[in-house]
Symmetry: C2
Subunit: 341 residues, 2 copies
DNA sequence: TTTATCTACTACATCGTTTTCGTGGATTTT
DNA sequence: AAAATCCACGAAAACGATGTAGTAGATAAA
């Protein structure tokens, strides 16, 4: 069922039917009613490709994320999809699986007009961003894992401050030697979190120790190996600041293996959005990011960008607050239970 | 940059260029090389809408899921996306948020040829399936939450058997009064899991008790209320079989609140794919579904269906095995640690 | 020599919408 | 009454790619 068949049924021209369906003022309201009724009756649906081709718009956006089996990206996607659904947009999803080559080929794919805009979070292995700089005309927003030097809207949490808070929290609970674990050397979030960590050390007059900064860029077993080595050292750390959930899980596993008690022997804090952290043994102190809101915000800004490309205030970065939720994995002997800061 | 501009640059006709790019035998290899080179040089990309319109194919599939902030659907999506990426397909994602009305409107949206096929998992609130029966011509596969009476390929795990195993496991560990909690009265997975539960009771000569079958179809707080009431009864259950992770979490929370010990006072088993279940306090016995494989399988079958609609063997249902992983939440006094069954 | 077959290309219709530019008739303005 | 404006609609040209149906020119078969 297309416009021309519908027009024939109605004894009208194609253009009149088209206009009637889009509620044009050129068509009398009587005719509009007839057309609408017939269209409903025959279940007419606009052909999206013809329409997209003609209008040079797709009402579709792309979401490019490293992975989705993850308690952070899940709610982010949910937030984005809600906004998109409400705005009548469609969402194409692409996973980079943390692989820069995949990221590059996905971005190439998106340069042919298939989408009106892109929301993305960088892969951990992305070391240069030439592929993104070529997207000059394409509305683009970054969320969470951003490329700082690319001049597009960015939605992040305050990673520096979160890193500072987390480290400071460990120190306040008695830690003297704190290890920092991160999944990438390239990601801005990692750098910022680390700078927050370093700043907290400095403020508390603790000397930086490079051997306590552990890159965990391998698979789960490799990361466990790094952590095992770390915790088997003679002067092992008494606090661990993991920047992603899976590293905290690995830490718990290694502590069990080495019969180290959390928090007595090692305290652990971690960025995480999992629902189960409060039920872990011991419950895990986390920095929790407003994931759903981040998704909503990113989508909202992208749509503004699509609809009104040159609005300069859009380029301001949006920084959302994370929460430190203290639980048992960082509890010191003297302190009682703590709550949300 | 489109075909006609490219043709002008090359002093060739549009059709020759088009054919050259698609490696047609009508074009000499010398010409093909020229065209390819020029296309690369000028960064020519096929306009997907023109192409889709002409070919009446979109190389795009839709994924319709209840939610994504979830340890099951995350890996499923990952599996699907991998297969799609490899096959050169695009994936549109739509969330129903467990809402039948949203599901209906999403399906309506997809009837205009935007996608070549649909993979879906029903919303928990979907009570009738008229909207899906209208999809007669559209390649469709169900995964996990299927509509049994619709004659399309279905990829599931063996829910009856899983329900049986879970219940039998509880009984073998000493439970006499086992509650069954499910998120929907409609979903086939719930019915099958419940039938497995009932069959295990029968086999072990335990009488069915309807007050132990608890529908948990509300939000988190409502579900917690139901569980609280359940566990406050004089003759409370000594075993709980939760069919989704969030119900197990709610159970843990209520047990803590009521000072009930797991597994001494109540044993808990649950369907879950979370990475953290082994670290919970106590570690949670789970039935774990092969989520990633399910996604891969569903996508693979959908592509076969798209490419070769009338292959009858495709209609056979695919049933994957789940694993029961025994942990501390179901441990009986006499038994030692148990392992994968 | 005539006819058939290839080869390597081109012209053009088509996919289904959207939108610009008309147009004939009615209504209003001068 | 002539001119201007409006109203409600239609014709046709895009949008860009694809594929059918040709067509010259060259080679092969009859």
């Amino acid at each position: 069922m297309n416009l021309s068949q519908l027009a024939k049924e109605l004894n009208l021209s194609i253009s009149s039917v088209s206009k009637a369906l889009r509620d044009s003022h050129e068509i009398s309201s009587a005719t509009k009613k007839m057309v609408m009724a017939k269209a409903k009756e025959l279940n007419y649906q606009v052909n999206p490709f013809a329409s997209n081709l003609r209008k040079q718009k797709s009402k579709t956006i792309a979401l490019v994320v490293p992975e989705v089996a993850n308690d952070f990206f899940g709610p982010v996607i949910s937030g984005m999809e809600s906004v998109a659904q409400q705005k009548g947009y469609h969402v194409l999803i692409y996973l980079t699986h943390e692989d820069m080559q995949k990221e590059i080929s996905i971005i190439k794919l998106l340069q042919n007009g298939r989408v009106d805009g892109i929301m993305m979070s960088l892969s951990a292995q992305t070391t240069n961003t030439g592929h993104l700089e070529e997207l000059k005309e394409m509305p683009l927003v970054f969320f969470d894992r951003v490329a700082d030097h690319i001049d597009v809207p960015k939605i992040t949490t305050d990673d520096f401050n979160s890193g500072f808070m987390a480290t400071d929290h460990l120190i306040k609970n008695g830690c003297k030697r704190i290890a920092f674990m991160c999944i990438s050397q390239n990601l801005s979030i990692c750098k910022k979190r680390m700078n927050g960590y370093l700043e907290a050390l400095k403020k508390n007059k603790i000397e930086r120790e490079n051997s306590l900064i552990i890159p965990c860029i391998g698979d789960h077993e490799e990361n466990k190996d790094s952590i095992r080595k770390l915790l088997k050292r003679k002067n092992r750390p008494d606090g661990i600041f993991a920047s992603v959930e899976k590293l905290a899980i690995a830490t718990y596993e290694i502590c069990e293996e080495l019969k180290l008690k959390i928090p007595q022997d090692v305290k652990v804090i971690c960025f995480s959005n999992a629902q189960t952290v409060a039920l872990l043994n011991p419950s895990l102190t986390t920095i929790t990011q407003p994931a759903y809101e981040m998704g909503e915000k990113a989508a909202t800004i992208l749509f503004k960008l699509i609809e009104n490309k040159r609005d300069p205030f859009l380029l301001e970065n949006t920084i959302l607050d994370s929460k430190l939720i203290a639980r048992d994995s960082t509890k010191s002997k003297r302190k009682k239970n703590q709550n949300v800061l």
